[in-house]
Symmetry: C2
Subunit: 323 residues, 2 copies
Amino acid sequence: MGGDFGPRITVPAIVQALKTQQDLRVLLFGRQTDIQSLLPSPADYPVDRLVVMHCEDVIGMADSPLVALRGKKNTSLRVMLEAVRNGEADGCVSAGNTGALMAISRQVLRTTDCIDRPAIFSALPRSDGSHTYVLDLGANVGCDSEQLYQFARMGRAVVKVLEGNPSPRIALLNIGSEDIKGNDQVKLAHELIRQDAQLNYVGFVEGSDLFTDKADVVVCDGFVGNVALKTVEGLARYIIGEVRNVFAGDWLGRIIGWLIRPYWRRIEARLNPGRYNGAALIGLKGVVVKSHGNAGELEFLRAVQLASEYVTKQLSIRIEQEL
Amino acid sequence: MGGDFGPRITVPAIVQALKTQQDLRVLLFGRQTDIQSLLPSPADYPVDRLVVMHCEDVIGMADSPLVALRGKKNTSLRVMLEAVRNGEADGCVSAGNTGALMAISRQVLRTTDCIDRPAIFSALPRSDGSHTYVLDLGANVGCDSEQLYQFARMGRAVVKVLEGNPSPRIALLNIGSEDIKGNDQVKLAHELIRQDAQLNYVGFVEGSDLFTDKADVVVCDGFVGNVALKTVEGLARYIIGEVRNVFAGDWLGRIIGWLIRPYWRRIEARLNPGRYNGAALIGLKGVVVKSHGNAGELEFLRAVQLASEYVTKQLSIRIEQEL
């Protein structure tokens, strides 16, 4: 039910996911009539692998996490998370209210041992063809040094599990590379991470280093990480638009623009924010993937595929083992 | 003397600036022997418009602002700012330590009336061909709501002065557009800005909105702003590199890459981080421009031109009048 477009986007995306992935089974939590009206006729999708779980209540995008936590008990978000906790589902995806997803996940699923607060991570492309894992991307709007330190430990675990890299380089996002730079939380976290011999800590990096191979894991406060990630998306969209404009400017441009299409598509594919939609909420006893609120059908599909991949790789359990 | 490269970059850039701008006169503060050895022979530049002001001491990039403030009195940074205060210079540029520049500027020049802390601003390109002015970009690592509110007022003044826009739209950078989103400082600043009838406040925007025409001024904490700005630079550099790689991949790509060069140069010019080098420290009784520490010759030249433009437009005095 969540996100800017609700079932109009999520239902067709799920139908698509079921068609492309034969071993996928889906429980859809939300208002049955809304969902049913958007499903194709039973002959046109694998009905045996989709179950609609009716929930009358929905958490709005503007509801505060506290209201979501203490309010109605039959919301689609909460009942979905209970299904994960009870083993009825192996993982879950939501495009809804991030604050509510975070708060109810902590209450229903509980955090991984020795982790206080879950974090959202995603992987950004970089110049050597590999990825930089960044966390937190918005689950926590204010983080103390201990939380940043825990994010560093979780980041190490994620890259070990997903990339098979036994000793990923960890960095802290700051506004300069010198020791004196930054706010108190960052300076204190710098000391905490440095003292942990298990972590391959490479020090401070700046925003411009996210796309270079200076570090494999970049740790930051959720506010800063969310702004950085969304700035990346905004700039990518702006550049794609600018390129279209430049080549639409005159008839020669249009011809050349047509010639370069196969090349440009490769670049667009790397830049396309939708390609990176879906970010896991880690540090929880269960696989939870957050989709962008403004995700379209293809982007939401990508978030579902990501959740499925993380379930297969047992991401949540293996992070707990690593910690 | 500042920045990653010191006089090796700044001296040739200044010589270039003197050659291209006939009404420019420059005082260079730093170690005379270092500077002299990098100047061309007197016949090759306008010697009458350049004076070297010898300063024995230099503030290092890793010195803390406190050390810079209380330490040696004959540093190039301090003596330069004193020259601005005493009217010997109309404005100044530094590629040095941002924290020290901020601290000593406040002490020597003093802040504009009713402004507690100066802020760094810059203008980002956006899809409608205009610019979004963003502040603070790193002068303050932690800002309370009152400071954010003052940044909003200064941002309005800057856009009025530089763009002639009588009522620029002001927004606060946040991690969501709903009222409940964000940390305490941002939520409180939201109320303060909203209550000021002089400000054309449009509410919260996200990182992705920096490149759209949702707002003319975007206000944020210096830590967040600095990360966002440097992320933009890093991504721009990454994309330029990716495009080069794609077209260098095969012989057809190389031919097409050659054909599109004039078009791509136009895009590169808009993306080139150096084009946006130089950001003014506003809220001070004097024109102070901060160049990136890693600026090359052309980028530093751009910062000098910007300072010259802001002096001509009387930016500092006009902001004070607007406030």
